[in-house]
């Protein structure tokens, strides 16, 4: 069920504590000692406070990264991107929460909707943290290069790594909650399907809110599918 390495990780999580839950303290805990936060999400303890702090963290960190993304063309685009990136990240997580709740229930989980929302926001906050960690590097390339294609590729790479980190954090959380509670939380197969879903939703949201890097309107209202854009049609 759980391999030795996972058990060792979970045992270390059991020993971790978190006194207060302000957003920035949570950011440190998310990186270093996520055990108490995940325990609270799993038990429903202080769920509103935890979910609220995770939402705030997601918005703040994503807005920071968005501003740096938009600095490639300083001006209105900086503000637009700072608003759009949190909408894309938090919006994708929130849009996919009902699916996560249903998948959880399918697997026999007893997590409430609020707890499920907390898990989705945990993933989004972890994603935002990784974006923030990459921000100085992206800023440096943004101010030292003129190549739009290179910058687009760089941002795509950063988002790919950050999404991977966010989903990995969610995977860790669901397995730890299962370890402590004894009841399954979102089996591996359903977790993979939900991961693919949230990535697809995120890509479509990013496409719908384009442009992100280039200057343009906040929202063009133009409909389309991100796949057709990728295929160049």
């Amino acid at each position: 069920m759980f391999d030795l390495k996972s058990l060792q990780v979970f045992e270390s999580f059991d020993k971790q504590t978190l006194d207060s839950g302000g957003p920035f303290r949570l950011a440190g805990a998310l990186l270093r000692a996520p055990g108490p936060l995940i325990r609270d999400l799993g038990s429903g303890h202080r769920i509103a406070e935890r979910a609220g702090a995770l939402f705030f963290l997601t918005v703040a960190l994503c807005a920071g990264y968005g501003a740096i993304l938009g600095l490639f063309y300083p001006g209105t685009q900086t503000l637009f991107a700072a608003i759009k990136v949190p909408i894309i990240v938090a919006g994708s997580a929130l849009l996919c929460t009902p699916t996560l709740f249903v998948f959880n229930a399918l697997g026999g989980s007893r997590l409430s909707y609020a707890q499920t929302l907390g898990l989705a926001l945990l993933m989004a906050a972890a994603l935002g943290l990784m974006l923030a960690a990459f921000a100085p590097i992206v800023w440096f390339f943004g101010v030292s290069t003129e190549g739009r294609a290179f910058m687009a590729a760089l941002h795509l790479g950063v988002f790919a790594v950050s999404v991977g980190f966010g989903l990995r954090t969610l995977n860790l959380a669901r397995r730890y909650i299962e370890f402590r509670g004894g009841t399954p939380v979102l089996g591996t197969g359903l977790f993979l399907i939900w991961s693919a879903l949230v990535v697809l939703v995120g890509l479509q949201m990013a496409y719908w809110f384009r442009p992100l890097l280039m200057p343009g309107p906040f929202h063009s209202g133009e409909r389309g599918l991100f796949i057709s854009y990728l295929l160049g049609s």
Binding site: G28, L31, R32, A132, A133, A135, P136, F141, S144, E146
Partner: protein
């Protein structure tokens, strides 16, 4: 002496300011040896730019280093480990400076082969110093995977920083430009490398 203290295997307790002085001196000496091929003002220019290159690349990468290392050693300790690793690299590079300076003073110029030999020697020196420092880093972090991820991030960012701060050896043999920022902001290292590859394949 501070430099030998930094190089010792048990240097993990050294305060950061103890590491910074040999870091700056070692990298400045290495920079001067690179600039010796062109000579004149280029010796001073490269001596100033090399510590700037190492420390500014580290500063830019530090947030990501901290995020990657937080679950393993904590973000705060990660700062010390990162600075000490760059310190070890800089001191080793400083130690390799004298033979490099000899090459710089004796290689033929202007001559493509002389320039290329200098570039190769510089690359070899960085490879030697870097390999030793990475080995030390992996031991301090307790994780080779984490060490290699740090190296990948630093290398990726450092390549662009080196591009931004060029010239280093100075193919044109002109030492009249400390930092032609306006020229360097056109293109970037990776675009130039890609274009070079395309040209080779055509």
């Amino acid at each position: 002496m501070n430099a030998t203290a930094v190089l010792r295997a048990d240097a993990s307790d050294l305060p950061l300011r103890t590491v910074l002085v040999p870091l700056v001196l070692g990298s400045a000496v290495f920079g001067a040896s690179i600039g010796s091929y062109v000579g004149g003002a280029q010796i001073l220019y490269a001596a100033i730019k090399m510590p700037l290159f190492l420390l500014s690349t580290l500063a830019i990468c530090m947030a990501l280093f901290g995020a990657l290392a937080a679950p393993v050693i904590g973000a705060a300790r990660a700062v010390g480990v990162a600075v000490r690793t760059i310190g070890v690299t800089a001191i080793l590079l400083g130690g390799l400076a004298p033979p490099l300076m000899l090459l710089g003073l004796t290689l033929p110029k202007p001559e493509p082969k002389g320039y290329q030999a200098m570039v190769l020697a510089l690359t070899a020196a960085v490879a030697i110093a870097g390999s030793i420092a990475v080995g030390r880093l992996a031991r301090e972090l307790g994780s080779r995977r984490l060490a290699f991820s740090w190296v990948a991030v630093y290398g990726f960012t450092g390549a662009q920083m080196a591009w931004l701060l060029k010239p280093w050896i100075g193919y044109t043999l002109e030492a009249d430009r400390f930092l032609p920022l306006k020229d360097n902001l056109h293109g970037n290292f990776y675009e130039a490398a890609w274009q070079t590859l395309l040209n080779l394949l055509r």
